[in-house]
Amino acid sequence: MKKINWEKNFKLREFKPSNDYIKFYEKLDNDKDKFTRSLYFPYGALIFLNDDKYFSAGFLSIVDIFSTFSPIPGAISVGSGRFTNSKLFIEKNFVKSSHIKFKKNMIDQLYTVDLFIYRKNISSNVKLSINEFKNFFNNNNKFKLYYESENILAYERIKKNSLIEIIEIKEKNLNENNLFYKLTKYEYSDFHGAKDKVNFIRTNDSIIYIEKFDDTAKSFLFNESYSENWCLLYVPNYLKYPSIFQNLLLLKSYFFGGCNKKHEAIFSYSNFWTLNKKDNIVLIFSPQIGFIISKYIYLISFLYLTILFLKKKLIRKYF
């Protein structure tokens, strides 16, 4: 009998998305401004589709495109966490060398997650049954059913937290040198009810604009992974101009005004600033400045080459 190493018995496979996933994504896209973050169960970098024999087990895994390309951010993957300071939080609560059993108390710790999604036809190394998932939310007055179909079950948080909030914490209380202590010194739940939401415009993942907020508190909380690269700028008149000039204003503020230096890590993975002013705030991931500069250089070069080309053509034609 011929022996075949089954792990190498591998061919290209076609994926046929089911209708309820398509409809669910349409609904998510319509509602995306309502939510900050979601969490897809079962999570993991690689998943299996129980109802499709070509993606069902062993080496026939699939990259979790559902959570990665979700209109509402929601993927957890330890493999891709090399450049984030939420890595410690993920390793402690989700997965390190092996998966950590998801517990109910995590739901409160995941304060920016306001949509919990269970995929019934998907499995991964995370062992969380549909009944365990349901038990988290049944009789839980903080949540309500958001969507249910053959393959999907989702609950939404009724009182949602915000990506950006104002909070009262004294700067000197965070004056630790060690990042780990900064991140773990306070629990978000300790400040429950003491925070105010802020309206913002998110141009893309790297740029967020806050026109102004009225609050006596001076501490500004941004609930995405802490990174030294996050920069808080003051950009007056930002909204008055079209985007091509908005970017010029960003460059001016970045190079001449500079970032707010009172930037710290807090609440397991979030960013925290002590503010001087309360209007025309732009949060920008510093490398984005480089991306903006490159776009201007490409544009200028393209225009220059086009003019050069046209000039050459015209000279040839008329002279």
């Binding site: 998305p17 390309f69 929601g74 966490g81 480089g290």
Partner: protein, 413 residues
């Protein structure tokens, strides 16, 4: 004369049509997923996927995505296809077919120009070798795993070389620009920097080539390529974690790095195999040809050696020696991999050594065509037989591409 020119174009298009049908009939007609393949499956997920930003809020409560900006040209390519109306589910297949045909066209164009021939018989023979170049074992393994950027880099190389050589004779700046454009597109697969350099280096010893000009134009291409990649180079310069992004200090110790090159040995290199730990091509080739598969892979090498032995052009012998030196170097580095990457930590992005097998099919194809060109019209009949045997045996490489590229309905239990 005109008829002759048209004939070579018609025959090349005919081979392009063959490639189209091989792929169109055998690739899955829908979203390709599994392995490392990723692609958006709906319009909403497509919107998310096309978003280009230095920060990615989608995963792990947000993380830096500066390096992902180097996929700009690929995303642009996908967006063009989407814009002209290709349905989302057919975009992956369209890209595969387009780049494979570009691979064949680039290969044929390069050799027609390099050998300065438009003789019909040679164009046919070049097209036959082009088939075995684009349908090579490493290319199969990359495609199976979903390393489409590796496929793009590999298949665009002949076009890169075509423009590099063109720049030596005419329209220097324009041809360097086109070569840099291809380099920029290919550099999305970071290994391209080393692959293209290693594949091109040998031409410095070609007596027909102006060495100084070749080096200068290569440098010029590199500079233009840097300019065409400032969209990720500038952001990287402003990233406080730039060192860790480009040269992650501990990656040479990971299980993936160690495991990836388990099957990298001379046997694999000279069969052009082992480009991946997973050995998909090897599995199917063995499955189809049983014990014959070893001979089918080694006989072309023996024929090449026989043909080389009597060849008067020293450069071709030098190419073979170069292949040997590269193979030996790869094996030696692999034996001391951990120490090597600890010492030369700036080479960590190239730590998966078995991916370098992808440079050999071009060098071998170059030798095969050179043998054909220099010896086909030789009076000795046995050499013609050897050349035809070489082509036919290489042609058998296509078998897994036709029989085992996708699962047939109900094939998998």
């Amino acid at each position: 004369m005109k008829l002759k020119n048209n004939s070579s174009e018609i025959i090349t298009v005919f081979f392009s049509i063959i490639i189209f049908f091989i792929l169109f009939l055998n690739l899955p007609h829908g979203f390709i997923l599994g392995g490392d393949w990723t692609f958006p499956f709906s319009n909403e997920s497509y919107e998310t996927w096309t978003n280009l930003s230095t920060w990615n809020s989608k995963q792990n409560f947000g993380s830096s995505s500066v390096l992902s900006l180097n996929a700009l040209y690929y995303k642009f390519f996908v967006e063009i296809l989407f814009f002209v109306g290709v349905p989302l589910k057919y975009i992956q297949v369209s890209i595969i077919i387009i780049i494979f045909i570009l691979g064949q066209l680039g290969f044929v164009l390069f050799f027609i120009n390099y050998l300065n021939t438009r003789k019909l018989i040679y164009v046919i023979l070049i097209n036959i070798v082009a088939l075995s170049y684009i349908f090579s074992p490493p290319n199969f393994n990359f495609l199976m795993m979903g390393w489409i950027l590796g496929n793009i880099s590999y298949l665009l190389y002949p076009f890169f070389l075509f423009f590099l050589f063109k720049s030596l004779s005419k329209q220097q700046n324009l041809n360097c620009f086109f070569a840099a454009l291809i380099f920029s597109f290919s550099i999305m697969q970071v290994h391209t920097i080393a692959w293209y350099l290693l594949m091109s280096l040998i031409f410095l010893f070609d007596t027909r080539v102006d060495n100084k000009k070749l080096i200068l134009n290569y440098l010029k291409i590199c500079l233009i390529t840097i300019f065409l990649n400032i969209h990720w180079i500038f952001p990287l310069m402003l990233d406080v974690n730039q060192g860790e992004q480009v040269l992650p200090s501990l990656l040479y110790k990971t299980a993936a790095t160690k495991g990836m090159d388990l099957f990298l040995n001379f046997n694999q290199i000279f069969k052009l195999y082992g480009s991946l730990f997973n050995e998909h091509y090897e599995t199917w080739f063995k499955d189809s040809f049983s014990y014959l598969y070893n001979f089918l892979a080694f006989i072309p090498m023996l024929i090449l050696l026989l043909l080389l032995q009597k060849n008067k052009i020293k450069f071709y012998k030098l190419v073979f020696s170069y292949i040997l030196i590269l193979a030996i170097s790869l094996i030696i580095i692999n034996l001391n991999k951990e120490d090597f990457f600890y010492t030369f930590s700036y080479l960590i992005p190239f730590r998966h050594l078995s991916r370098f097998i992808i440079i050999f099919p071009f060098l071998f194809s170059f030798l095969i065509i050179s043998m054909i060109f220099s010896q086909f019209e030789n009076q000795k009949k046995y050499k013609k037989i050897l050349i035809f045997s070489l082509l036919i045996i290489n042609f058998l490489n296509l078998e897994p591409w036709i029989s085992n590229i996708k699962y047939n309905e109900n094939e998998k239990n």
